[in-house]
């Protein structure tokens, strides 16, 4: 036995070999396990091969599979590990003990964990690494679906069933767990040996981050995380593929000609503009031709890729725009343009996307350009300038610019006046919340929005360009906003970060993310738009004019019984907060939140806010009591 232990401590046999060796010596499995555990602190961490040049991109490293994973993550540029622990990944977490360059960020529910990583990825442009227990993986899938929809790069990993027992329907073993990730990941893989861990991990990062990016799922069997191996750890940069692809010049010329000849063009912008950092180029193109700008409606699209205060910006697209009328050419820059019917017959459609699969997916497209949005927009601008004199361009744009400026100025003034009409509404109106936030927040604040009814407050705020950054999620799987704001703050510690989520949305996410806010002292202002309702869901349900609408009975959406006190809830998690019951309390409450966050503490505002729409006033809900079903008091 002594010999066996010595071999193990010298890394000459794996943990698995130690356990089976002890077994043959008559030691019970439980005793062998606890013996292996007590030996763990004496094991050497991953050691770089002395012969390897530390500065080279490739290093040969010896250690447990877990230690090799840590070393590769470091070489892949990972600074944060978003995790919830599991025993099978013990060698991985053990290897982190002596690793000071990486920080563990824990969430108490895996959906929240993935949403945190999503916020981090959107704000930083990096590819985060998430690891959780395999039975926790199904939890992560609500938010993984959002990540997939938004094409956000992410590697999500689990510790997998020990290969020796795989398929026995044993502990936490379900056949082909990895395949449940299949429809919402770019790739899924089960690592086959300890020495392969660095390689498959690099591959996962490469697949996740190459545009069109997306989530990838990896499974590391427990035994291989434990096994010792020697493997090459290689810098991720050696596997990076630039997708900054210049577009086909012939197509650019064709598109430029159509735009020059258009009488009433419309520009449609989407998230790939943000992903490619093409915002400035897009503004230049819009201004050059005086084209009004629109975007997908609702939460389709997670960014505001065009400055919302720009006088050419119309807001969300409509099927048939009244302004500008008679659109003849639509140029889609990086939007998914999900609904083909939005492009009316007769309108010429030019589309530019980084995602060839979804380019020209639904709407018949006259010019489909695959290319980086920044390059393509710049090339379009150059083509326009080369095909038309400055005078002609001015002629084309002048009238349209003036008309659009007039239209947007009128509508902006009108919306402001409508907003002011609601100033004293009690409970607080979304309009007032928008106006108060606009005046309270820094110009470069990050707003993380997941408030269904609250989208109209965005009319009163400025986003994009040099204004506030805006983040939401396209997938609409609720429970994203509260944790995602944590990730945004982690990526931008020096920017003010505010999350604005509906009470319904909050409750899909929470309250567990509050623990992470308190634990890691993440100074974010957390606003709950508490209308005690799935308000817009009720509106949509009633909108079909069925029995609930006819009888005036909200069978499904009222949340106010019991009436949740979110400030109290936050306090239970060590997060300060307060209820904002009256409109006049909003401003001072936002100031207190600002002071708390400046001091390094998160702060929650439970804002009692309007319900609106059909059936909004009613608080009736189907009366039913389980206690009343009883025939005896048990």
């Amino acid at each position: 036995m002594k010999n066996l232990i010595k071999q193990y401590l010298d890394s000459r046999i794996s943990r698995r070999q130690l356990l089976s060796g002890l077994g043959t010596l008559g030691v019970t499995a439980a005793a062998a396990n606890s013996m292996a555990q007590s030996l763990a602190p004496f094991l050497p961490a991953a050691a770089a091969d002395a012969s390897a040049d530390a500065s080279s991109a490739s290093r040969s490293i010896k250690g447990t599979g877990g230690a090799l994973l840590v070393a590769q993550l470091k070489a892949s540029g990972i600074e944060h590990i978003f995790f919830n622990p599991s025993s099978g990944a013990a060698p991985f977490f053990d290897a982190l003990v002596d690793e000071s360059g990486m920080h563990l960020i824990k969430a108490l529910q895996e959906g929240a964990l993935v949403a945190m990583a999503d916020g981090y990825a959107k704000a930083s442009g990096k590819t985060p690494f998430v690891i959780c227990a395999r039975p926790g993986f199904p939890n992560s899938m609500t938010q993984l679906y959002n990540v997939w929809k938004d094409e956000i790069p992410m590697v999500v990993a689990v510790d997998y069933v020990n290969r020796a027992t795989l398929g026995e329907d044993g502990f936490e073993d379900a056949d082909h767990l990895e395949s449940i990730a299949h429809p919402i990941t770019k790739w899924n893989w089960v690592a086959q040996s300890a020495e392969k861990i660095p390689e498959v991990t690099r591959r996962a990062f490469k697949f996740a981050s190459t545009m069109p990016s997306g989530p990838v799922f990896l499974a590391y069997p427990e035994d291989i995380l434990d096994d010792e191996a020697q493997a090459a750890v290689i810098d991720q940069a050696k596997f990076a593929v630039s997708m900054k692809v210049r577009p086909d010049p012939d197509l650019v010329e064709k598109a430029a000609r159509m735009l020059l000849e258009a009488q009433s063009p419309l520009l449609y912008v989407g998230d790939e503009v943000a992903r490619c950092g093409a915002q400035k180029d897009v503004v230049e193109l819009a201004e050059l031709l005086g084209v009004p700008v629109t975007r997908d409606g609702g939460t389709i699209g997670w960014s505001k890729s065009f400055p919302t205060q720009h006088p050419l910006y119309l807001g969300a697209a409509l099927r048939e725009m009244r302004y500008p009328a008679h659109v003849d050419v639509t140029l889609n820059l990086g939007s998914r343009l999900s609904y083909g019917e939005r492009i009316q017959p007769g309108i010429k459609l030019i589309q530019v996307r980084m995602d060839p699969t979804n380019l020209a997916r639904t709407a018949p497209t006259d010019v489909a350009i695959f290319g980086d949005l920044k390059f393509t927009t710049a090339d379009l601008v150059a083509a326009l300038r080369s095909m038309a004199t400055a005078d002609r361009l001015r002629q084309i744009s002048q009238d349209r610019t003036a008309k659009t400026h007039e239209y947007t100025a009128t509508m902006r003034k009108f919306r402001e006046s409508l907003g002011r009409e609601t100033w004293n509404h009690s409970p607080v109106s979304f309009e007032r919340l928008g106006m108060e936030l606009e005046s309270a927040l820094d110009k470069d604040a990050c707003v993380i929005a997941e408030s269904d009814s609250g989208r109209k407050m965005e009319d009163f705020m400025s986003f994009g360009g040099s204004d506030k950054q805006y983040f939401t999620t396209t997938g609409a799987a609720l429970g994203w906003g509260l944790p995602a704001a944590f990730g945004v703050k982690l990526a931008h510690p020096d920017l003010q970060v505010v999350s604005v989520v509906g009470d319904g949305a909050f409750l899909f996410a929470g309250p567990q993310p509050l623990w992470s806010y308190a634990r890691y002292k993440a100074p974010v202002t957390l606003i709950v738009c508490n209308n005690r309702s799935y308000n817009n869901e009720r509106n949509r349900i009633w909108n079909v004019g069925g029995r609930q609408f006819q009888t005036g009975r909200d069978m499904t959406c009222y949340l106010g019984d019991p009436d949740i006190d979110y400030a109290k809830l936050a306090s239970g998690f060590g997060v300060e907060g307060e209820i904002v019951a009256e409109p006049a309390q909003l401003k001072p409450a936002l100031e207190r939140a600002k002071r708390a966050t400046a001091d390094g503490r998160p702060y929650l505002l439970d804002v009692h806010i309007e319900r609106n729409g059909i059936g909004a006033a009613s608080t009736w809900h189907p009366p039913y009591s389980v206690a009343d079903l009883r025939t005896r008091k048990v």
Partner: protein, 186 residues
């Protein structure tokens, strides 16, 4: 590589979630549900037919009854959610809706059978006010607390506009309803 990009696996669940009312989302069965020519004639009809059908159908508008204040709220809300109506057009649309789908214009039918209202103070007020927009089945088959009745009646009368009911009348209706169709708040 088991990538499924390009194999049509990506599903769009969004339409299930986005039966409009809200922001501009387009789900064909909704905007196809009632033809624009079903709208009654009048100034504003054409605007409603175009501006209000970008995100939702006309069925709901035509089945709903609301007062001028209520309709104005809807129109304002829709503008903040993207409806393209300028201030004058918004006035026209709100007036058209209030005229054609306001109190007294074929009340909404709940399909709930109602017993006659029990006698009591406030009975006549309820009959003359509430029944302008909807049948009495909506009232007599439901139990609400006093607070809920206060809110409901107050909200409806506010939507109907000023001068439709005095504060005393509102209280009388709410008390009557709470007495006959009340429940304790749990």
């Amino acid at each position: 590589m088991r990538s499924n990009k390009g194999f049509g696996f990506r599903t769009h669940l969004w339409p299930l979630f986005a039966l409009c009312f809200v922001a501009p989302i387009f789900v064909s069965p909704i905007w196809a549900q009632a033809p624009a020519n079903a709208l009654p004639a009048g100034t504003g009809k054409d605007l409603v037919a175009v501006a209000c059908t970008q995100c939702h159908g006309l069925k709901l508008i035509m089945s709903l009854r609301d007062g001028p204040v209520g309709w104005r709220h809807f129109v304002n809300d829709m503008i903040l959610r993207g409806a393209q109506l300028n201030p004058q057009e918004a006035d026209t649309v709100a007036q058209y809706l209030a005229q054609n789908f306001g109190p007294g214009t074929s009340p909404m039918q709940s399909g709930l059978k109602s017993e006659p209202l029990p006698p009591g103070d406030g009975e006549k007020l309820v009959e003359s006010h509430c029944a302008l927009c909807h049948d009495l089945g909506r009232i007599t088959t439901i139990a609400r607390s006093k607070e809920e009745w206060n809110n409901t009646v107050g909200n409806m009368m506010a939507r109907a506009g000023t001068n439709v009911a005095t504060q005393d009348e509102i209280l009388a209706m709410a008390s009557y309803l709470a007495a006959h169709f009340g429940r304790k708040l749990s």
